[in-house]
Amino acid sequence: ETTEPEIVTLRVAVPTFPNSLDASVAAERNAQNVSWQLFDSLVWANEQNVIEPALAERWDVSEDGREYTFFLREGVDFHNGEPFNADAVVFSWERGIQPHIEWSDRWARAESVERVDEYTVRISTAEPDPLLLGVMAQHWNMVPPLYTQEVGDDGFGAAPVGTGPFQFVEWVREDRVVLERNDSYWREGLPLVDRVVFRPIPESSTRMAAIQTGEIDIVNRLSFEQADALERVNDVDVVTYPIDRVFYIAFNNLTTGIDQPTMDPRVRRAMNYAVDRQAIIDSLFGGRAQLSTGLMTSSNLGYDPSVEPFPFDPDRARELLAEAGYPDGFEIGFAAPAGAYTNFEQVAEAVQGYLAEVGIVTDLDIIESGRFWDLEAEKQLPPLFGDSWSERSGESLPRLRGALGGWDASFSAWSDPVIDDLLDRISVTIDQDERAALYRELHRYMQDDPPFIYLYVPETFEAVRSNVRDYIPRAAEDYFLMFTSLD
């Protein structure tokens, strides 16, 4: 009975190389997935995006919605033995808002964080912020003040210490990150494996091969064809779910699109009718994506299921074009970023093909993504450009603001006073139902006067070895491995 228990190791492939293991500095989703295994925030969003207590056992919100009082869990220690308390929260926030921290704007949603007593903190915002708790859950990783100060930001990013289910063991840059079970984790009985090893594998074909050979237990970001093929492989299970990302072809009415036919809503509706999006989904994504009806995903607050997606109806498109005064179509510029999203160049090509069938000739320019976003921010892209937007906060407000905020938003090329007005109202309304109603109104408006050609909400494909249990990724492609076990 006293034999040494075998060390259970979970091996996870990540498609990019973490730049830092500090969740506040980790540049993108995959790096964050690695680092968040080490941390906790005050609150936690569960699989249904419901906010649950984490390092805070409970909290109160003031009447005006601008002040939160968190009551912290007692007896929690950081991995290095430092105690977790109000000072740690204040320290973490003060560090988080410094401009050199990648996600400082997320920390800065709070105007102040004050220690009330050892296990109580008060957090206030300038305006009522309906998204605050969600943001906290996703970005506020609690760090130990003494250790963090001692090793500095670089040192912390290289060897982080948190309160999370796993603790840091080693990071061989570009090769592996090794984490170990935190035996005194406050969530009783978790985590379920002894060790987690993250291996960066940038090439999806290689990730696919690695799961087949059993060198890896969990891989993500596969193409649907790869998922298809893996479904036929014993010992490998495919995991698929819609992600929180909307793809669209945007119009421009600020700069390059001025005086173009696309200023006319009928033309824009026509273009939505002209594209056989289901065919695109079927052929490029194996049918595994949802038609989008707006800039909201079905899991977002205020999503109106009664809004039907535009059907594929080229005749109707031609009619509308004729009505708008373009019976023979027109020519217009079109751009898409290169290599940024799965199959997106091909989607753009497909859209180009469909538009051509109703007479709209586009000059498709696939631009290297860095440059594409430069141009997008400078609003210098052609009047038609393809892009996507992901939002993890569970609501579509930031995405809507970002993509439709006119001159104020870096990646917007569209301005519509009706939309602006609705968005302004949503962003100060704390009451969920009221907000939902406003979202629905916006949703319908954007169907009549579409600022985009709506494309799809893709599913993502991941695969796990068959002996992996309870690997539950979320719509934002994030996951917590503390629940995951190996048979």
């Binding site: 790869q226 093929a229 056989d276 065919a279 052929s283 199959n343 090509e349 498709l364 696939i366 290297e368």
Partner: protein, 298 residues
């Protein structure tokens, strides 16, 4: 061996000799035929293509080639992930590849010729300066250079041509300079000086014609290299825009299907291999035929 012994082998008429060299080197002949065929395919691509290479049909995407059970003669080499006809795309891709190779080499060799001749003929400080820059460019890893430049310029056919043209120029500078130095001290240039030839005459009548052989040989190899590297740029998403059916793009797009729809990556891969093979063989052969030094000892 003294000169006369060598001569006798050369006494036969040149055309026959040329024919013999062509026939002797079976591989070279094969390369030549292949190359002519490829050029023909490139020129005739629009006429030969059964379909519009850009015509997509998402409903019939990833059809296997005709000899497959599920394939049809409609698409002899199958279709790609957007249902475009592979055969037509490969054919048109030939054009793209040869365009990239041809104009890339044209630019590179023009630059190389101008600077290499200047360096070789002027000597002294001009030579040192040109060679310093050449060596500088050559000491940065080629692909790093290409990747940086490609991402600066963005994707377009012209840009790919320019990138290959400029990044390959140093090689031509070196070759040209070396040849000019050799030719400049050759007996026939001295002989030309002794009959009162002007510099201009020497350059146009003696140096340039004798440069053609080595440059052409290098050009053939470089052209094959460019076709090869275009595929590499395609892999990194830095080649011509995806709407242009280049082999690199096709190969890059097909790589995720390599296990289940292998033809999408295999055919462009084969096209690259066959084309660069033909050019390599041709290059070997040209080196034999065009290099008078080789001719003497062959």
């Amino acid at each position: 061996m003294r000169i006369d012994a060598l001569d006798r082998q050369d006494l036969r008429r040149a055309p026959q000799r040329l024919a013999r060299i062509v026939l002797r080197d079976k591989a070279g002949l094969f390369g030549l035929i292949l190359f002519v065929l490829i050029v023909f395919l490139a020129l005739a691509a629009p006429a030969l293509s059964p379909h519009d290479p850009l015509q997509q049909n998402l409903r019939s995407s990833r059809q296997p080639p005709a000899w497959h059970e599920a394939g049809s003669m409609e698409h002899p080499l199958g279709t790609d992930n957007l249902g475009r006809d592979m055969l037509s795309r490969i054919l048109v891709g030939t054009r793209v590849s040869l365009t990239v190779g041809f104009f890339g080499v044209l630019i590179a060799s023009s630059i190389g010729l101008v600077f290499g001749m200047t360096a070789g003929y002027m000597g002294g400080r001009t030579d040192s300066a040109i060679m310093a820059v050449t060596n500088l460019v050559l000491s940065v890893p080629y692909l790093l250079l290409v990747v940086v430049v490609a991402s600066v310029l963005g994707r377009s056919l012209l840009n790919v041509i320019l990138i290959f043209g400029f990044t390959n120029a140093p090689l031509f500078v070196r070759v040209t300079r070396g040849e000019v130095l050799r030719i400049r001290t050759s007996g026939y240039v001295e002989s030309a000086i002794s009959i009162g030839a002007s510099r201009h005459h020497i350059i146009t009548r003696h140096i340039l014609p004798n440069l053609i052989g080595p440059i052409l040989t290098v050009a053939t190899f470089e052209m094959s290299g460019m076709i090869f590297y275009e595929a590499g740029l395609g892999f990194l998403g830095l080649s011509v825009p995806p709407s242009i059916p280049s082999w690199g793009n096709m190969l890059a797009a097909g790589r995720q299907y390599i296990q289940f729809s292998p033809w999408i990556a295999t055919f462009p891969g084969l096209a690259i291999v066959v084309t660069s093979l033909s050019m390599n063989l041709l290059g070997d052969w040209l080196r034999d035929v065009l290099d008078p030094r080789q001719r003497r000892s062959s």
